[in-house]
Amino acid sequence: MRPKLKFLDQALIERIVSEALDLLATLGLEVQNGNAAALLGDHGAGVDIAKGRVTLPESLVLDAVKKAPSGFELFDVLGNRTHDLSGDNVHFTPGSSGISVLDSETGTMRTPVTGDFVRFTKLTSRLPHIDAASTAFICSDVPEQIQDSYRLFLCLLYGEKPVVTGAFTIESYRLMRDLQIAVRGSADALAMKPLTIFSVCPTAPLKWSDVTAQNLLDCAADSVPVEFISMPLTGFMGPVTLVGSLVQHTAETLSGVVLSQLANPGTPVLYGGSPAAFDMRYETTPMGAVETQMIDCAYSEIGKHLGMPTQAYIGLSDSKALDAQAGLETSMGATLAALAGINSISGPGMLDFESCISCEKLVVDHEICAMAKRMEQGIEPKDDFPARPHFEEMLEEGHLLISDHTRKHLRSEHYFPGPVIERANLSRWREEGSTTLDERARTEVSRHLSEYEPSRLNEDARRELTRLMTTEAARYGMDELPARDGD
């Protein structure tokens, strides 16, 4: 049996959805993008130009929900299937769009540059339980206008995994699409085998900004999957209660579903989000708060009830260092998310309210992800019945170390963590240098980086990626991209 976490009963889910439908039909949305407003208007939405609001009749929303796929697949740069985002399948991806990196040497946060991004992407490519890459942070050594697309370029060049990403402007989308086409060969091939997921974020409450709405329409036109990132902040930009925030999240996310399915029926979507239990003492948006994580798991239940695959920013920490708080918040989130069956879990490697990325944290979190995945597989009998023969063998041999049953199931039944998790006895731990988690994580990062193998993406595609990025950089005054090792 797959263990399954539930916070909401059926009646509560239905009530939340019906309240959200009522919000959409009566108060409606503020839509700041003309194309999106026109599209909604053409399909029966009420467009009140004077008030600047668009109301969505219930039938329009329910129709869109029906058209939204119940799942979709992702493929790596080589075209191999890596993700089946359906059912309760769980996949992890590093947190994205950080502002800083935690420097491995000094342990302090600083502004990232290209070298940091390459390092992080190489590391991600080495970790089997981190299923996708992400455009994890911004490189400050390229012009602002290309800082969003440049991250995708580096991900596609140094890693093979699909990428969770997003554009910061309307203009950036074009290059970010072309980079993907460079990998796949054609727009059709890209539509057949999605390579990325784009974050599109409605603004609380019930608003679609020009940028976000256009990004959504553009992705839909190309059948590029999107994840809706609605962010109610409890008691501030959202009701203080978890149920109230869920109503808002449902309404905002459903409005995204409507836009995507009107723009291109069947556009792959993730019912996602990054709500936060707003901290009224510090004016912050904690991702490690238990209530944040409860809202995440609960909206995932609603998304599943509506028949869509889900996503959340969970499994990350608000701590500023790789410390016990980082471990506890990340593992609580990752565990809950895996038990809730959230299909794409964004967060590993991240600290400081979605602001900071750490390589060392990623290798620690990788173990958390692996354990969460193991747990999610649940407890199943494996040649266990009848039980008596195993016990007869144990009594006869004195142990089961070399029994067929042990040898057959040892490696699949148990997850053996890598060296960052300390499981030696005290004397051996001392003999091996009495290392701390931080030291072991640093050693692991170095080992992975030294064992990194370049992406197998073909030379033509690599050249085209570089040509596209170099041309774009030149438009903004940078004639040569920053030097990267190995090139």
Partner: protein, 211 residues
Amino acid sequence: MSILETIASHLERGEHDEVRALTETALAESIDAATVLDEGLIAGMQVVGEQFRKHEIFLPDVLMAAKAMNAGLEILEPHLSAADIKSQGKIVIGTVKGDLHDIGKNLVGIMLAGAGFDVIDLGKDVPPERFVDAAAESDANVIGMSALLTTTMPSMKTVVDLVKSRGLDGSVRTVIGGAPVTEEYANEIGADGYSFDAANAVECVKRLVEG
């Protein structure tokens, strides 16, 4: 407890109806309006600021107290001389061009207004010229800018430079904030102040206005 202390303690609890009624009573008892302001309302607000910094009370409590302060001020205003009610200063605030994050900026605006500043909120995605034009037109003392994206921070420098090139740097000070913004960045671009949260922004703007 004197009536002024009672006003202060109701203000601390955010009880605006009581503050309004007691302010009227104090005036009826011929207590000087400026004294009610200083020893009742402002004294209460100072306690609130202190309690918030120590996390004894939360953001909604501060905002309720500010609302109570305003209720009392409305009663006092007709009785105060121009010098007594002088606004703390005028600040033009907004989120910089290309950036749609306005939650932090709004909070800073609310707290500044609560602290008695005249706040002109230009909204989000504000082009550099608009900050400077608005400050010049309204005779503002301070321009406050917020950025949450690393990609939009350079717009802050453009504003700081514009303030200088238009010769306004004698009269208009600049303050910046937002998740990716740091004190070092403020120094680097020549902004006059940096703040990391709303209460800190109030202190910073006060310092800048007092010069």
